[in-house]
């Protein structure tokens, strides 16, 4: 193993060289990356852009030496590699510890259950002597701004942004020459995004390591990187690298092209359909009302044989949902926004207070949405979850859309229109789990709407979405609003809230947030 640092323990930045490199995942017909030529000098900071399917994540995994013949679905098979991809002139797999990789989902970036142990994990694997490990752990935690936590602090009590900073500390403790970030902030709220970005910046300034980051939101990383590389989906005719240069030049030359490809270039908010003037202001009929509502995800707990009611994360919430009106639920992380929305949507039982449906909405099903049967619920209140995969119940896109109407016994005629409108017509026979992130989001909205609910509840619908999907979604929802559907969305996205208009319910931080 080549030492990733010199005797003094300082980091030696790594170089990356790709020559005609290509990779085809096992079981796929087309390569994820094709004929990539790329040189990254030691200490350079590169932002990797490109439409989904351009192979950005594949490249990062390869550089981290973790690209094997087991793909994301856990299937083994024969993958196909061509050309060469080298880190410091050697195969990445042979350079264990030379590169550190951070992925998107904060929950899977934590390995162990205590903060100190988790940071030490990578250094242990690289056989660093014990005393040196703890020195590195303290230094890394200070570098990412987590030194106020005791070493035995439980990792499960950290916020998403803290988990990602912890993962960064774990990477830093390995003293890697190459730091690879795969959409590290896609699942975070705006505060978490800045937390992680600033921690990365500080650490790079200190160590001088090479950085390659993949991210849709250019404005977050623009000032931190000194080069932008734009990749395009692999094909035999075109080179893998579409554009390459300093951030300002690439962004000015290719602004329109990048925006068209769904990249969030700085200062660009995609055009969305405006609400019809007459309908945006008028108050529609009351559909759902929350009165003095207390919410919690916990059900009553058992302590021995005694039943203890759940402790509400928020209490005294009052809101009204009206036909043709948007309601945005905003507020800091951990305030219980999703919990409130799920209670409003009849999926969680209120801890205190009540949710009541008006006669226009209940249509004979009773006043309390939580007591409705599943079939009664979906034709009245539709809920789109943050993670689309949680809602897939069949193995085919078309069946997925027909599922609701079949259960209800009506509404199958609406499916074609939804397929068309959300650009899913080409995918009717595909397995929902194999779709891209944007396609999954569109499908999850379409499946819920297929049951024609009068109220649509969406939990962070724009998280991690590219600008194109974002604009499509906002425009589509504004059409629904004009048609009289009520839209309730839990969101951190100020532009999205603005595009839909309507009322905003700002929730304060909960009193019982995790430390």
């Amino acid at each position: 193993m080549a030492p990733s640092q010199d005797a003094a323990g300082t980091v030696r930045p790594a170089a990356v060289t790709a020559r005609g490199w290509g990779w085809r995942h096992a079981g796929r017909a087309t390569p994820a990356v094709h004929a990539l030529d790329l040189d990254i000098s030691p200490g350079e900071r590169v932002l990797l852009l490109g439409p989904s399917g351009a192979g950005k994540s594949t490249l990062l995994h390869a550089l981290a030496g973790v690209l094997g013949d087991i793909n994301d679905d856990g299937e083994a098979g024969d993958a196909d590699e061509s050309g060469s991809l080298l880190v410091d002139g050697a195969l990445p797999r042979a350079r264990r510890g030379r590169a550190g990789l951070m992925q998107q989902d904060p929950e899977t970036q934590v390995v162990l259950s205590r903060v100190g142990d988790d940071v030490a994990f990578g250094a242990e694997n690289l056989a660093v002597p014990r005393d040196a490990i703890w020195a590195r752990v303290h230094e890394a935690l200070a570098d990412v701004g987590l030194s106020h936590l005791p070493l035995d602090h439980p990792t499960s009590a950290l916020s998403g942004g803290q988990k990602q900073r912890l993962a960064l500390a774990g990477i830093l403790a390995m003293r890697p020459g190459l730091i690879l970030l795969d959409e590290p902030t896609a699942n975070l709220d705006p505060d978490g995004v800045l937390e992680v970005r600033d921690a990365v910046g500080r650490c790079l300034d200190k160590t001088g390591a090479t950085l390659v980051v993949v991210e849709h939101r250019v404005s977050v990383w623009k000032d931190l990187v000194d080069r932008i590389v734009v990749l395009q989906p692999g094909s035999a005719a075109d080179p893998a690298v579409l554009l390459d240069g300093p951030p300002d030049r690439v962004l000015s030359e290719a602004r329109t092209m990048l925006a068209a490809a769904g990249v969030w270039v700085p200062g660009y908010v995609p055009e969305t359909r405006k609400r019809s003037a007459g309908q945006a202001s008028g108050a529609g009929n009351l559909l759902l009302a929350a009165e003095q509502l207390g919410v919690s995800r916990e059900r009553g707990r058992r302590k021995g044989l005694r039943k203890v009611p759940a402790v509400p994360v928020q209490e005294g919430l009052t809101a009204q949902v009206r036909a043709g009106q948007a309601l945005a639920i905003t507020g800091p992380n951990g305030a219980g926004k999703s919990t409130f929305a799920l209670t409003l949507a009849g999926l969680l039982e209120p801890v205190s207070g009540k949710v009541s449906a008006s006669l226009d909405l209940s249509r004979g099903a009773g006043i309390d949405p939580y007591r409705w049967k599943a079939e009664q619920l979906i034709s009245r209140v539709g809920t789109v979850f943050q993670e689309p995969e949680h809602q897939f119940v069949t193995g085919k896109v078309l069946d997925e859309l027909l599922f609701g109407p079949r259960h209800l016994g009506h509404g199958e005629d609406r499916v074609d229109e939804l397929l068309e409108r959300l650009r899913l017509t080409q995918l009717v026979n595909a397995n929902p789990y194999t779709l891209s992130g944007g396609e999954k989001r569109r499908l999850s909205v379409a499946t819920v709407l297929a049951a024609s609910p009068q109220v649509l509840v969406l939990d962070e619908p724009t998280f991690g979405q590219d600008a194109n999907t974002w604009a499509e979604l906002a425009s589509f929802l504004s059409e629904l609003l004009d048609a009289g559907t009520a839209v309730v969305s839990v969101t951190h996205d100020a532009e999205f809230t603005e595009a839909l208009g309507g009322a905003e319910l700002r929730m304060a931080a909960a009193e019982t947030v995790a430390p």
Binding site: L112, E375, V393, V448
Partner: protein, 266 residues
């Protein structure tokens, strides 16, 4: 549930002992009690176990919260043994097919106490042993392969996560019109579907976690340990304590003449 997997804040004496020595002590006591159904050995062991409670940072109310299914199972076992076991001696209660005699009551009480005395050390061990420390001890002292031990440890963290995911998937499926209420058949079908959804998510999470671990250099040959698993005088005390409790229980039962080997029958 996720918090309960760690012992954050337990500063009791036994929490500092090596998990392997605690395990050895528990094994010894359990082995002796498993050999005989009699109330003397069980109650001697039980008294000592209750005395050990404060050393493990456990209180009676915590025990009830964590171990109530075991306690109720032991009580039910004792009761049913005392009314169903073949009668001998004076009949104390006669209610048709149920009779309770002196002999069967004695057997029932022995069963009840033994249930408690066997269940308690396990609860005691779990409440003062951190899974990470256990993994350290298994890999460094018991020389189990570290890939296996650390892989299991990391996977255990996902178990708590999966419990949360189960609830979310249940709600997400209700929002699609899949009812988890209704007839038994409907509920079984819904649970099967929900399990499949959970399985998919579990595999995805697990493969992402595997990538994270591999990217941190896991799976190589040689590795060092940031936390050294050590044996100290405390561990000598723990093992001797186990020997003492097991020995006293055995001695008391033999002296009292109640020692009653399970497989020899009566």
């Amino acid at each position: 549930m996720r918090q309960e997997l760690t012992l954050h804040g337990n500063r009791a004496l036994l929490a500092r002992a090596n998990p392997l020595s605690k395990f050895a002590a528990v094994l010894l006591i359990t082995a002796v009690l498993a050999l005989s159904i009699d109330w003397v050995s069980a109650s001697v062991a039980l008294v000592f176990e209750l005395l050990l409670f404060p050393l493990a940072g456990l209180t009676l109310s915590l025990l009830w919260q964590r171990g109530w299914p075991l306690i109720i199972a032991a009580a039910v076992g004792g009761w049913s043994t005392s009314i169903l076991a073949p009668g001998s001696g004076k009949i104390l209660l006669d209610a048709g097919i149920w009779t309770m005699s002196e002999g069967s009551l004695q057997l029932g009480i022995g069963f009840l106490l033994r249930g408690f005395a066997i269940a308690l050390p396990a609860v005691l061990l779990m409440s003062c042993t951190d899974p990470t420390d256990l993994a350290d001890a298994l890999a460094q002292k018991a020389r189990l392969p570290h890939r296996f031990v650390l892989g299991t440890l990391a996977a255990m963290r996902l178990v708590g996560l999966m419990a949360e995911e189960w609830q979310i998937i249940g709600m997400a499926r209700r929002a699609r019109g899949v009812g988890s209420r209704g007839s038994l058949v409907q509920r079984v079908k819904a649970t099967l579907g929900q399990s499949f959804g959970l399985l998919v998510q579990a595999i995805r999470r697990a493969s992402r976690l595997a990538v994270t671990m591999e990217a941190r250099g896991f799976g190589g040959g040689k590795r060092t340990w940031a936390r050294e698993s050590t044996f100290s005088l405390l561990d000598l005390g723990v093992v001797s304590g186990g020997v003492l409790v097991a020995g006293l229980a055995l001695f008391a039962a033999v002296t009292a003449g109640t020692w009653n080997m399970v497989w020899l029958g009566s």
